[in-house]
């Protein structure tokens, strides 16, 4: 049970993971999963700014039909690097490396992850990959598109393909090690009484994500090795003039990159589940279905990669199979949306900022997911593949879905992470601005795509201009929406009200720790004798709840 409300200001600052040791060395050589989470937080925020800056330039260029802001080659580098930075250096690590690292051990009742030193290693690998990528961008950049299609990337591009490929290769190992750590932690380090069916769905989501990270990332790693080898040594594995097949690259690339999108969305789904349960004050509707749907998405996600290749030259029969399987993978996602909605029924709903982000997620992920049905449909994909329709679709899921979930989670757990409360009024405003700005940016792009505006174009026919201008206007609003939390989170670290240990009276072992937690999380190993999402007990007034270990 949350500690009895004591006016936080009256408490002297308790020892916690932030103030236990000081000095740069204590951070750079830490093995505390919470500190590593913060190291990641700083790094991914940095890369978010860079990727966002590229996006700003892209949208500015697209204000006019002509190519007048930057040169063609520069534009090609902008969208390539926007994609690479956002996918590999922001989205894929984001929730797992920040919120996952912070919360997974606490949620299962452990003192740390299974392999704390490997956790630190994974951050260093991320940083090394990031530095390599920065160096690549500063010394010429890369212009192949984040998808690196051959033979352009192996035999025609004049940019730093090898360096970019190696940077992503290194960062990929960061992702693999994080996933490995989570899987072992969840299997082997659960506290007594924490059975699989008592785990928070955040953990189920991260478990599924980790499976994908561990099994999928090595494939892109080897694919990049082949691209680098081919480019450096002129081998011929992908070059038709030498007997190779460019489509082999696409199969290998998408075999990872499709499951990768589930790496990006599943953790966010986990966050949203926790938020909706807390702010409806009830257990998630259909716990087992939500848990197993995460696993189903992870498994089916590996079977659909060639839906990115319907017009690439694969056979009609292959296309039929992949289209069918793509519809199969849509079902578990739909099931989750229904379960979240059903959780609201007969709940007791609060509208705090995390919940607003969760609502935003519901709407935007629904639209993004439904437009996935359009793309899985062979007859429609023929027309909209490689157009702005696809761009709109994946931004709805990755920005409208994953990023909203990330922001919602940051707000929800901020009191735990920092020991401070963020300003609620500003947070609600920011959520609203993000929602409006997002829709204004990306909804017009669906229309642009159906009209036929291709991707990766820096000049376009004049009749597409109005929609492009709307989109750029939205991007400006969206940018403001993102800046606000960065400002007030920083502000709150100094001036925010000190947070109680469980400000939301939320369920979950992490809320039984201090805010901020001590280095080893729990005074004594917890013994779990209650089900997950025990909101009935938490909200029951004046009742002594289920005995807990103290």
């Amino acid at each position: 049970m949350a500690t009895a409300p004591v006016p936080p200001a009256a408490q002297p600052e308790r020892e916690n993971y932030l103030n236990k040791h000081y000095g740069v060395g204590s951070w750079l050589f830490t093995t505390d999963h919470k500190r590593i989470a913060l190291l990641y937080l700083l790094s991914i925020t940095f890369f978010f700014f860079i990727g966002g800056f590229f996006a700003l330039l892209i949208r500015l260029e697209l204000l006019t039909p002509g190519g007048d802001l930057v040169q063609a080659d520069t534009y090609n580098k902008l969208f390539t690097q926007h994609g690479q930075v956002m996918v590999f250096f922001f989205l894929i690590p984001s929730i797992p490396a920040v919120l996952g690292n912070f919360l997974v051990p606490m949620m299962v009742g452990a003192k740390d992850l299974a392999f704390p030193r490997i956790n630190l290693l994974s951050w260093y690998l991320y940083i090394i990959g990031g530095i390599m990528m920065l160096h690549c961008m500063l010394t010429g950049g890369v212009d192949t598109g984040w998808t690196f299609y051959v033979p352009f990337s192996t035999a025609f591009s004049n940019t730093k393909v090898i360096e970019a490929g190696l940077a992503i290769f290194v960062a990929g190992f960061s992702s693999i090690l994080t996933g490995l750590n989570f899987i072992v932690t969840i299997h082997r380090m659960r506290a007594p009484g924490m059975t699989w069916s008592r785990l928070p769905l955040f953990i189920w989501a991260h478990y599924a994500t980790s499976i994908i990270q561990v099994l999928g990332t090595p494939v892109i790693a080897i694919t990049l090795v082949l691209v680098v080898a081919e480019r450096a040594l002129h081998l011929g594995i992908f070059d038709p003039k030498l007997g190779g097949d460019p489509l082999l690259f696409q199969h290998l690339f998408w075999f990872y990159s499709h499951p990768a999108v589930y790496i990006m969305i599943l953790p966010s789904m986990g966050v949203v589940t926790e938020i909706i349960a807390c702010f409806s004050r009830k257990r998630i509707f259909g716990y087992s279905f939500v848990a197993f749907s995460s696993i189903a998405i992870a498994v089916f996600g590996f079977l659909v990669w060639a839906h990115h290749m319907f017009v690439a030259g694969i056979s009609v029969y292959a296309a039929l199979v992949f289209s069918l399987l793509s519809y199969a993978v849509a079902v578990p996602s739909a099931v989750k949306v229904f379960n979240w909605t059903a959780t609201l029924y007969k709940g007791s709903i609060h509208y705090d900022a995390p919940m607003l982000y969760a609502f935003g997620f519901l709407g935007l992920f629904t639209i993004g997911g439904l437009t996935g049905l359009f793309l899985a449909c062979l007859g429609v994909d023929m027309h909209v593949h490689d157009t702005y329709f696809v761009i709109a679709h994946f931004h709805y899921i990755m920005v409208g879905g994953a990023l909203m979930g990330y922001l919602g989670g940051m707000h929800f757990w901020w009191p735990k992470i920092s020991g401070r409360l963020y300003p609620e009024g500003w947070a609600r405003l920011a959520a609203l601005i993000v929602f409006i700005g997002f829709n204004l940016t990306f909804f017009p792009q669906f229309i642009l795509g159906y009209l036929g505006m291709p991707r990766r174009y820096y000049q376009y026919p004049p009749e597409f201009q109005v929609l492009n201008v709307l989109s750029t206007a939205g991007a400006t609003v969206l940018g403001i929406g993102y800046l606000l939390p960065m400002i007030y989170f920083l502000w709150s670290m100094r001036y925010g009200k000190p947070a109680p240990d469980n400000p939301w009276n939320a369920a979950g072992l992490e809320w039984k720790t201090q805010s901020p937690p001590t280095t080893f999380n729990f005074e004594e190993e917890p013994v779990v004798t209650w089900e997950a999402y025990n909101y009935e007990e938490l909200d029951a007034p004046h009742k002594e709840e289920v005995p807990v270990a103290r």
């Binding site: 003039k241 009609v316 292959a318 296309a319 519809y327 079902v331 007791s348 007859g379 036929g452 109005v466």
Partner: protein, 342 residues
């Protein structure tokens, strides 16, 4: 819609209507689903907002409900899948007797050559109501031939042919975009499809050509010495090519393949890859000795060769240009798609 602010692309081909109908169906289904979720979320969050003394009701779940909302969407998805598959299948199956146009994509332009011989750069003139089949390859990187008004798109690959087809239904000029990123001037690799009334098209056609593509091919065939081995009798050291196009061929290792455009192209550029049974492996490769356009001409020539008595087009320029569209039954096999490697 509005002149400078369209919200829907032109519908200029037979496929466009089918794709649009499917798209609108998807819009309706998605719209309904979005509305449903939206209304439910708004209603529940208002109706069940937190109130003093009214706790939430803990509901574990409902397996019948879960099954319902898994199976019904799955069923709807299957309908969408099936409809989409039918539209797609039709789009990837060019009709027999399509007029053929050879397309060579290169950074950063489209080179097109009609079977009758007309060459175009970044433009394609076609008559209304005629089935046009594009046989496409790239000289360098992967490009993609995209005509939004026709709802038609097909990636163009180096090293092999890919095929697309359309039948235009409305005269006009329509955008042609390259839609597979291909380098610096990717967004400049655009052009127009100009659909004309049949009479205007005839007039345009007669405005100069170098003769049918197959005649060019015949010339190259002679110049490169192909006829030395590929004689039109059984005495040659290479297979007789009369009537071979579109027919099954038995290979050295026992497999049977169809002699489609990709196979003919491969035989010219990589003769040992799939050798015909019963012949010595002595054909030299012409990789690097012939351009993509020349290969196209040779393929067109081989297509035009029919067994004596079977009819079909003789590759002479004297034949009226219209009938260049009516090749022999060889086109039927070509219609089954010429992707060799799944």
């Amino acid at each position: 819609m509005f002149d400078n602010f369209p919200l829907w692309p032109d519908r200029a081909s037979t496929a466009a209507g089918n794709v649009d109908a499917l798209f609108i169906f998807l819009l309706i289904v998605s719209g309904l689903m979005t509305l449903l979720i939206f209304v439910a979320v708004v209603y529940f969050s208002a109706r069940y907002r937190n109130r003093q003394g009214v706790p939430a009701e803990q509901i574990e779940g409902s397996t019948p409900l879960e099954l319902t909302w898994s199976i019904i969407p799955l069923f709807v998805f299957m309908v969408i899948f099936a409809w989409g598959a039918v539209v797609y299948f039709k789009s990837r199956t060019p009709p027999r007797d399509s007029t053929e146009v050879y397309v060579v994509a290169k950074q950063w332009m489209w080179k097109l050559e009609h079977a009758e011989g007309q060459r175009e750069i970044n433009e394609l003139h076609v008559p209304v109501g005629r089935d046009v089949k594009l046989i496409m390859t790239s000289q360098d990187v992967i490009h993609s031939f995209f005509v939004p008004a026709f709802r038609m798109k097909q990636d163009v690959l180096p090293g092999r042919y890919t095929v697309a087809w359309f039948r235009a239904i409305k005269p006009g000029t329509y955008h042609l975009f390259c839609t597979q990123y291909c380098g610096t001037q990717h967004s400049g690799m655009i052009g127009s499809i100009i659909v004309m009334e049949p009479a205007q098209y005839e007039a345009w056609m007669s405005g100069g050509s170098t003769g049918p593509l197959s005649a060019t091919g015949e010339k190259i065939f002679g110049e490169l010495g192909c006829s030395t081995c590929h004689r039109s009798d059984s005495q040659g050291r290479g297979p007789n090519l009369q009537g071979v196009f579109g027919k099954p061929v038995q290979l050295e290792d026992g497999r049977i393949v169809t002699a489609d455009e990709n196979y003919i192209r491969e035989c010219i550029l990589d003769p040992g890859a799939r050798r015909v049974k019963g012949f010595q492996p002595i054909m030299p490769t012409f990789q690097g000795l012939v351009s993509d356009e020349q290969v196209n001409a040779l393929v067109a020539y081989v297509k035009s060769l029919a067994k004596p008595g079977e009819g079909g087009v003789k590759p002479a320029a004297a034949v009226p240009v219209n009938s260049a569209a009516n090749h022999s039954s060889a086109n039927q096999a070509a219609a089954e798609g010429s992707q060799v490697n799944p």
